[in-house]
């Protein structure tokens, strides 16, 4: 079944991989948050792509909305935390946050 062969899944997996790569390599907190958003959107894409042309399209869109909603909540709290970190450390570079170790 060529179903899985469809190019859209390659895009989704690429997005997901890009998100992971961004999360691992970037040091700026904001960019890291953005790469998480990328990963979440990769999931959305897969949901919608999978449900295209089937009876489950409403179900898939509901899940996508859920994920977007959760992403928003996370972003809110995340940015608040990054702000708090910035106020203390005057930098959004995540290497600054490495006092706790061992």
């Amino acid at each position: 079944m060529t179903f899985f062969g469809a190019p859209v899944y390659f895009l989704a997996v690429a997005l997901f991989a890009l998100g992971i790569f961004g999360f691992l390599t970037r040091r700026n907190a904001i960019v890291v948050l953005m790469s998480v958003e990328l990963m979440l959107n990769a999931a959305n894409l897969t949901f919608l792509a999978a449900a295209r042309g089937t009876a489950h399209v409403h179900e898939a869109s509901a899940y996508a909305i859920f994920i977007i909603l959760v992403a928003a909540a996370e972003a809110a709290v995340g940015l608040a935390l990054v702000l708090a970190l910035f106020r203390i450390k005057q930098s959004t570079d995540l290497d600054v946050a490495s006092d706790l170790k061992g």
Binding site: A42, A73, V77
Partner: protein
């Protein structure tokens, strides 16, 4: 009609309490109201679980139904949240200018999230439960905004948590892509058929393992535990694992039975990483954090065993044995960990002195009661009878032996002996300091009553579990 209300009560009450608490607190500016509201709602949640909220059919039951084990987990989480609330009542006041009002609201949401996961019959419900559990915790960890460690811990916890969320969602999407449904029963029926579904489950699993703080996903735990205020750490230690295991109990069956070695490997890796991590630690909270990683590994041993049966008849038995063992373990471990952090919270009384093992030198002469109680909790964490921790360890390894994994059980239990070493180090520092050793200054101020009650409650829980494991076993079994 009343059935529907009763079925959702365990999760509805805390959420309602939280929302109402926020409104009242905004309007009336009196934090005490929010606190009592939360206490009431959490108590209501516990009562409703035992009042028959489990196993009810009816509206929405295909999305959310609380079974006996799920009920125990929700009630346990609510109880630990309640105790954490008592623990933190006047913990923060002295030197922080924060509104204590936030604490009860956030505390109420955590058990709600766990309740959702415990009753979830749908993958998305699990994901929502995890988010509802995690986001308040990120905030709670960073409660003391001025404190660099707290914020750093929170940021790390948050970012890795978000990372895990990414994996979970992408995993779910793969599941949906291959099975066109996220209903857990349907997914379980299709377990092991398509590689995409298996990959999806694996990704979902990775997220849950992060939550469980199993190795190699555990690196956030020490920093988060150390950064957070002690009552919050107590909450995290006792509840995050409940949520993770609730999720794992529903997701692992989705894996093909032949995949159990992967879980077993992670389990042994966690026990080793946790125990060896803690062996040379000097800061007590990091020791208990690494010990929680080891305990996560032990629970995983049971789950791996639960998964390992090929033929369906034995599979059902093993899975019920695994869930029984892990639920018992969560409650016993939760109570012990909560108790240990409770003692530290009482000793610290908001100050910052009882951080390293050195601060505990000769504690048995300054605060004998605290020393003896701490020893009791540590022995339970070490799995030494007559504490609840012993039976928890016993049931987990019983499941592993029942599944025929003798050598894994032996490896696991030998590694757990390494674990006992660092608990003994703390006990030794408290009791066996030489006469002339100069002792840390005694904590000033009187012992806060609610915190004391919370810790004693945890102690009674561990003692009861120690001498009479049948009661809880019965409850879970039914």
């Amino acid at each position: 009609m009343s059935d529907d209300l009763l079925r959702f009560a365990p999760i509805a009450l805390p959420i309602a309490g939280a929302v109402l608490g926020m409104l009242l607190e905004a309007l009336l500016r009196k934090p005490k109201v929010a606190m009592w509201l939360t206490v009431a709602s959490l108590a209501g949640s516990i009562v409703s679980v035992f009042g028959g909220a489990t196993g009810l059919a009816g509206y929405g039951s295909e999305l959310y139904t609380l079974d006996a084990a799920g009920g125990i987990l929700t009630a346990g989480a609510s109880a630990f949240a309640l105790l954490a609330l008592f623990l933190s009542v006047n913990y923060l006041k002295p030197q922080d200018d924060e509104f204590p009002g936030e604490i009860p609201i956030l505390l109420a949401l955590v058990p709600a999230g766990i309740g959702i996961i415990a009753g979830a019959r749908h993958a998305m419900m699990i994901f929502l439960g995890i988010e509802l559990l995690s986001v308040p915790l990120y905030a709670l960890v960073a409660l003391r905004r001025a404190n660099a460690a707290a914020v750093e811990g929170a940021v790390k916890y948050f970012l890795l948590g978000a990372f895990a969320a990414g994996f979970i969602t992408f995993g779910m999407s793969l599941l949906f892509a291959s099975e066109h449904s996220l209903d857990l029963d349907a997914l379980r029926a299709a377990a092991g058929r398509s590689p995409v579904a298996a990959a999806g489950t694996a990704l979902f699993l990775a997220g849950l393992l992060f939550k469980l703080s199993a190795a190699p996903f555990h690196f956030w735990t020490p920093d988060a535990y150390e950064g957070a205020a002690t009552p919050v750490t107590a909450l995290m230690a006792s509840t995050t694992k409940i949520g993770a295991v609730a999720g794992l109990l529903k997701i692992t069956p989705l894996l093909p039975a032949s995949a159990w070695p992967a879980l077993a490997a992670i389990a042994l890796l966690s026990i080793a990483a946790g125990n060896f991590g803690a062996l040379l630690q000097d800061r007590v909270k990091r020791i208990l954090a690494y010990s929680s990683v080891a305990h996560a590994g032990t629970i995983l041993l049971a789950l791996a065993a639960g998964l390992s049966a090929a033929d369906p008849a034995l599979a059902a038995d093993l899975h019920s044995a695994a869930s029984r063992a892990s639920v018992y373990y969560l409650i016993a471990y939760g109570a012990s960990a909560f108790g240990a952090f409770g003692i530290i919270a009482i000793l610290e009384r908001g100050g910052d002195r009882f951080r390293t093992i050195g601060d505990f030198r000769g504690l048995s002469r300054r605060q004998p009661a605290a020393a003896w109680l701490l020893t009791f909790f540590l022995l339970s964490l070490g799995g030494i009878p007559p504490t609840g921790g012993f039976w928890a360890k016993y049931f987990v390894f019983a499941t592993a032996v029942q599944a025929g994994q003798l050598w894994i059980a032996v490896a696991g239990i030998i590694l757990s002996v390494v674990g006992v070493a660092y608990y003994l180090r703390i006990v030794a520092t408290c009791f066996m300091a030489s006469e002339d050793a100069e002792l840390g200054a005694p904590p000033q101020g009187k012992v806060p009553l609610p915190a004391l009650l919370a810790t004693l409650a945890a102690g009674v829980g561990v003692l009861v579990l120690g001498f009479a494991p049948a009661e809880l076993l019965g409850l879970i079994g039914r």
